[in-house]
Subunit: 271 residues, 2 copies
Amino acid sequence: MDCWVDGQPADALSLKDRGLAYGDGLFETVAVRDGQPLLLDRHLARLAEGCSRLAIAADPERIRHELSSYALAMGEGVLKLILTRGDGQRGYAPDTTAPGRRILQASPAPSYPAAHAEQGIRLFPCSTRLSHQPLLAGLKHLNRLEQVIARSEWQDGEHAEGLMLDQAGRVIEGVFSNLFLVRDGVLVTADLKRCGVAGVMRAELLAQARGLGIPTQVTDIGLEQLQWADEVFVCNSVYGVWPVRACAALSWPVGPLTRKLQTIARALLDA
Amino acid sequence: MDCWVDGQPADALSLKDRGLAYGDGLFETVAVRDGQPLLLDRHLARLAEGCSRLAIAADPERIRHELSSYALAMGEGVLKLILTRGDGQRGYAPDTTAPGRRILQASPAPSYPAAHAEQGIRLFPCSTRLSHQPLLAGLKHLNRLEQVIARSEWQDGEHAEGLMLDQAGRVIEGVFSNLFLVRDGVLVTADLKRCGVAGVMRAELLAQARGLGIPTQVTDIGLEQLQWADEVFVCNSVYGVWPVRACAALSWPVGPLTRKLQTIARALLDA
């Protein structure tokens, strides 16, 4: 399917776009089933938070409408929205009244091995550390060189994801996933106030767990907590939940809370 | 003048470019006089360092040739080279054999007030702190949201540049300049091993100072060292050297070493 730029079919971008020049923008990767963009409210909420913090004056209703129309035309697959600040002149100073440029791209749903979800995965222990930048933490912005470098650390098919720590050695997330652990019945995930991407599936699973009365904790996680975890899993809004069986010398069983949340995620994504 | 993409006139970019998707690339901003790209060897050396560290397999001789041809066609102004990893599929994993996509853009030389160079400037004390990422430190890569946010902190014409500290409070650089101070005859600039852009004019002035027997020091700089400095100036490869007269409550005279290096920079840029 054609890309759309600001609502119109297009195959190219202005060379003056600040998304290219500075990574001055945000993105969302949305699963689409039966013409519906899934978890749309959560994607739009994160985008709105990003627009607010980066001072991009995008129109949320227009974006919602456009995503819905594009998803309907796609039918199935993955919809990527890139929202840049639009064209700029020379220099970093942003126009904070610019409404942003909307780029929509469709791709087929990725075909991951079924074993990832069924038997669980092995995480590659990335040596690339996430830097601390509270002004950008949590956002899905276009400055992604840390993820590019981390993802280049392994090429083998043995590792389906990588584990990323921050500069202080805290456990933060996967390269394209968030990470949860379970310890004594408590569902734990990293506090993303310094770095990391606050994933839509992470937010959804936290909310669902709370709704089920499962205790949750969003906190700093040290490597020792990973060692003592009863269960570990990763998640995102495209593949749902993958149990984590191992990372370097550490290993975990696939546990019941992982399976419960995996079933919930699957139901959300098969909607 | 038209932009060039991979050596051909073009006005648009592929929507699959990884420069847009992830800021996966580098740039150089080169002053052009009489058809010559100035400080070209230093620009190309920094670009080569970036290609090596990001694993972009660009051809340095081709880039040199293209920059020279484009500068000749421009005559005067500022040439911006953006080198991205080129098109990508979905996902962060980079093709480390990709030769990169070369984007060349021309703009007129910026017309800064003559007073910036003559009487000196006032720095805005940015509250945006630079994050620590040794894997990217020194490079002029396309992940520039920190500079975008910092540059949005002031709109008045009283401040020609901003002062940026790192997350630990060390004095690093300007938003689009490097910073030097002079203390007891020693020329001091920040060590950029954790963050910052290793500017071409910074490298040139350090080399010129050493050639003149002026002692130089590349080190961590605390705010207290800025308070005790005899002279402070900022530099880049487009405007040369601007003396710094003040930053918040701090003020400095415009000193003799600043003037000496400013004269050297001016000679390089008026070549």
